[in-house]
């Protein structure tokens, strides 16, 4: 009986090791948004990409519990904070790659080469024509009393708001940022609710006139695939790049890292390198309207209309380091 079980198990193992080269991707990015890039990768290299998509934190727990037998080769996340968390949990192995170092500017990748930013997402201020006629040039200006009842922003449970506050914590004292958060909450037009697009829709409908949202949400509303209502809402909005005179507009990255126990690490490195290359960077710009990390790759025409901007050059691991403090601060400020 025991022998039989052994033979059966060995048979299972043999049948599992397939001859086609493949790479296993754990993705916090929605499958629909990354699939076109993966298909292009498979077409070019012949390497098949297997994918599981779920929330980054749940994927992190899955990799941790699977331990040395985890099939995961690459973890893809939509923010730098989670990449930092994976690094802290010692899940990543460093990659020493000319290609990656050349394609990705130093402040968009980890100093120890464990993770690499692949696309940029900016979180500027957006206004409608009804916005009060005041100088609105920085995140700090959002607390001026003239904006009382004018601002729509989503919940502080959202990672992009947490990252924004985490970035401010890197530039100012905790007490200053908390005062700022309280001032922002005092100016809200309504309790935080919905997603970034909902804030833009509410502004277009007249419930507020100032919004903080990621640019690709607005771009998606202006694209050909958008519904007529959304396009009308998007057209009522203009973008203000905050903090151009000082630190620059807050940006985050989506990025990837190589899992330490990766069974297909060569293919995994090929995948990450591919994602940083011209073709994939161009796709990032076109599939989801993000800014490429690789200098010189053109942005989508919709984004080009908003002009160029100075991005906050803060090393992005700071976003991860400050995240928990940012959440507590927002709790204290009553930002729901």
């Amino acid at each position: 009986m025991k022998k039989f079980v052994l033979i059966a198990l060995t048979g299972l193992l043999v049948s599992c090791s397939s001859p086609t080269p493949e790479v296993n991707l754990y993705s916090a990015r929605k499958e629909a948004l990354i699939k076109p890039l993966l298909d292009a990768f498979t077409k070019e290299t012949g390497i098949k990409v297997n994918i599981i998509s779920a929330s980054a934190d749940a994927l992190l727990e899955r990799i941790k519990s699977e331990g040395i037998n985890s099939p995961a080769d690459v973890l893809l996340t939509t923010d730098a904070g989670r990449l930092h968390r994976a690094k802290q949990a010692s899940l990543f192995a460093p990659i020493d790659s000319e290609v990656l170092n050349n394609n990705i500017p130093a402040n968009y990748r980890d100093g120890d080469n464990t993770w690499f930013g692949l696309s940029l997402r900016a979180r500027p201020i957006m206004v409608t024509a009804k916005a009060p006629d005041i100088a609105l040039t920085s995140y700090e200006d959002l607390t001026t009393p003239e904006l009382a009842g004018q601002i729509c922003i989503r919940s502080s449970g959202n990672i992009y708001n947490q990252s924004l506050v985490a970035s401010m914590l890197a530039h100012a004292s905790a007490a200053e940022v908390e005062t700022w958060a309280k001032g922002l909450v005092a100016n809200l037009a309504r309790e935080p609710q919905g997603g970034d697009r909902d804030q833009i829709r509410a502004a277009a409908a007249g419930q507020c006139s100032v919004v903080v949202a990621n640019t690709y949400y607005l771009a998606n509303m202006l694209a050909d695939i958008a519904t007529d209502d959304d396009r009308a809402a998007g057209e009522a909005i203009s973008v203000i790049w905050p903090n151009q005179q000082n630190r620059g507009t807050h940006v985050n990255v989506s990025g990837a890292g190589l899992i330490k126990s990766a069974p297909n690490s060569d293919n995994a490195i090929k995948l990450i390198e591919y994602l940083s290359g011209d073709e994939a960077q161009h796709l990032y710009a076109n599939v989801n309207f993000e800014y490429p990390v690789k200098p010189g790759v053109p942005v989508h025409p919709i984004l080009a209309k908003w002009g160029e901007f100075k991005a906050d050059a803060l090393p992005l691991e700071k976003l991860g380091e400050n995240n928990a403090e940012a959440v507590k601060l927002m709790d204290r400020a009553g930002w729901k």
Binding site: I52, S55, G195, V327
Partner: protein, 540 residues
């Protein structure tokens, strides 16, 4: 066939499916950071608790009113279209709460068609008029109440039908009106079933994350995820989840204590109740009353989804679509059958042995439903992966081969996680059914020399057919809609309809999400219709 010990052992084995993840939660939470508790309780915890309690209160009120009310109408009266309403009242079961939330938001939000029309028609701008805000606590109560009432309806309905006419004859003798008879006799007798339905609805309310997070209503469950995702503390999140479970345990104990004395059986052969014919205005009122829950829980959100689907000019993913349907339906069927079999075993073990161990097993099994899906998924993953890695280490050490992960990352692991959550659903329905069968039946059968196994097969299963099918239906539809555990535990390249719908919806691409949502609803409709037909055959 099975002796007392075997009943106890098997019920304990089934309970350990749920117990293992709970122990894993305990282990994870042992590393919790106590300072974080201080921060939580001094800032946001009071609001989380208050909102969760209000949400439960509101959902109870709506599910009880709609569920018991419509079950009463369709079992006690005859009015035009009753055969349709009888099963149509179950339609909201196929609607995931968060999809309904997205639909209602699209319709009623400040940028939605209704408010836009009001502004255009009357020349108002935002702020000039008052409009009930859908993304609020009361909005969440409304949306969840209207999709969850079928749990109460389904169980109350079969309880009302299986009640013997004798009770009502007695009521008539005592000079009770129909309404008095309902309040004083029918409802108290149906109470275990109504409570079972209500507990399912409330546990799902407590475990819900999608709806409340989208509405910006901070509940205990959103707090669990905020602690985990925002503060990177999975152990504090696990601890909060255990507190939530503790709360559910207290509720279950109170509920059980309160009905300990009340046990009602009707030993005589049950006869079909004679419904009263409603005509004219009364008939119309009845039609209006039973249409309301169907409209709120199904027709309105589906209508909004259809509008989006048309607007988006989206194409059905021809090649992928049938694959998704196949994946979803086969997972749901396998889990439903397993959950009902295991649930029946546990419920029956309690009935035959009355031993503390079997009672304990039953209580454990009924807890799984109250834990948010993502938490249950991680807590199931941990012991399974541990087991896999132990086996692998043994094989590596002794035979120099690696077995890798045998369970985790396979559909088997996913089905185990489903069972952890949804056995409670099967158990609730089966238990309510078993309780309405008098123990004297068992004794009579046993005195004629039947073993418990034979009693189960020859006496109880035939009498329980309605409850068995109800349990199958509930688990099937729950698995169809299930999202968080599926997302995190599925194997590579494996998608279900719910995963597709969520991926678009969470990216705020509601138009694209609408097609997948409609597919879930369509695929969910078929079993709803088939099984309700079957349930009717067996309960009438």
């Amino acid at each position: 066939m099975l002796s007392g010990i075997k009943w106890q052992a098997s019920s304990l084995a089934i309970a350990s499916l749920v117990l293992l993840p709970l122990i894993a939660l305990l282990v994870i939470s042992s590393q919790a950071n106590m300072q974080l508790w201080q921060h939580l309780s001094s800032t946001v915890l009071p609001e989380y608790v208050r909102n969760s309690l209000l949400l439960m209160l509101g959902v109870s009120a709506i599910t009880l009113t709609l569920g018991v009310g419509s079950a009463w109408l369709v079992t006690q009266y005859r009015f035009p279209g009753i055969r349709f309403f009888d099963w149509a009242l179950l339609l909201p079961l196929a609607m995931p709460a968060y999809i309904s939330a997205y639909s209602y938001t699209g319709l009623l939000d400040v940028a939605g068609p209704i408010q836009t029309w009001l502004r255009d028609a009357f020349g108002w701008s935002v702020g000039d008029y008052w409009f009930p805000p859908i993304r609020s606590l009361s909005g969440a109560v409304l949306v969840m109440g209207c999709v969850l009432y079928p749990y109460v309806y389904l169980l109350a309905r079969s309880a009302f039908i299986s009640q013997s006419q004798h009770f009502r004859d007695v009521a008539a003798l005592m000079g009770y009106s129909r309404r008095q008879a309902f309040m004083r006799i029918t409802l108290p007798i149906a109470r275990p079933a109504v409570i079972a339905g209500l507990s399912l609805a409330l546990m799902e309310t407590l475990a819900d994350y999608g709806t409340v997070a989208y509405f910006g209503v901070n509940t205990f469950t959103t707090g669990i995820f905020r602690t985990w995702f925002g503060m990177d503390s999975v152990s504090n999140a696990a601890q909060l989840a255990l507190v939530l479970l503790g709360f559910v345990v207290v509720l279950l104990i109170i509920e059980r204590r309160s009905r300990q004395q009340a046990q009602y059986y009707d030993k005589r052969k049950s006869s079909t109740p004679s419904p009263k014919q409603l005509t004219g205005v009364k008939g119309l009122i009845a039609v209006g009353l039973v249409s309301l829950p169907i409209a709120l829980g199904f027709v309105i959100p589906v209508w909004q989804l259809l509008i989006w689907a048309v607007q988006s000019h989206a194409q059905l993913w021809q090649s992928e679509f049938w694959r998704l349907v196949l994946n979803t339906v086969s997972l749901a069927s396998v889990t439903a059958v397993l959950a009902v079999m295991l649930g029946l075993l546990v419920a029956y073990a309690v009935r035959t042995t009355q031993a503390p161990i079997t009672r304990f097993a039953k209580q454990v099994v009924s807890l799984g439903y109250a834990v948010p899906g993502t938490i249950i998924a991680v807590a199931t993953l941990v012991p399974l992966a541990k087991l896999d890695n132990l086996v692998d280490a043994w094989f590596r050490a002794n035979l120099d081969i690696s077995t890798g992960l045998i369970l985790s990352g396979t559909l088997a692991a996913l089905i185990i996680a489903y069972l952890v959550r949804f056995m409670a659903v099967a158990l609730g329905s089966l238990d309510a059914g078993l309780q309405s069968i008098a123990p004297t039946m068992d004794q009579a059968a046993q005195s004629m020399g039947s073993s418990p196994w034979q009693v189960l097969r020859r006496v109880h299963i035939p009498m329980l057919k309605g409850s068995l099918l109800t349990a199958l239906l509930l688990v099937f539809v729950d698995v169809m809609k299930e999202l968080p555990a599926t997302l995190i535990m599925r194997p590579f390249n494996f998608n279900t309809l719910a995963v597709r719908a969520y991926e678009y919806a969470s990216d705020e691409r509601l138009a694209d999400a609408s097609l997948a949502s409609l597919a879930i609803i369509c695929a969910g409709l078929i079993p709803v219709i088939l099984l309700t037909r079957a349930i009717h055959r067996h309960t009438r």
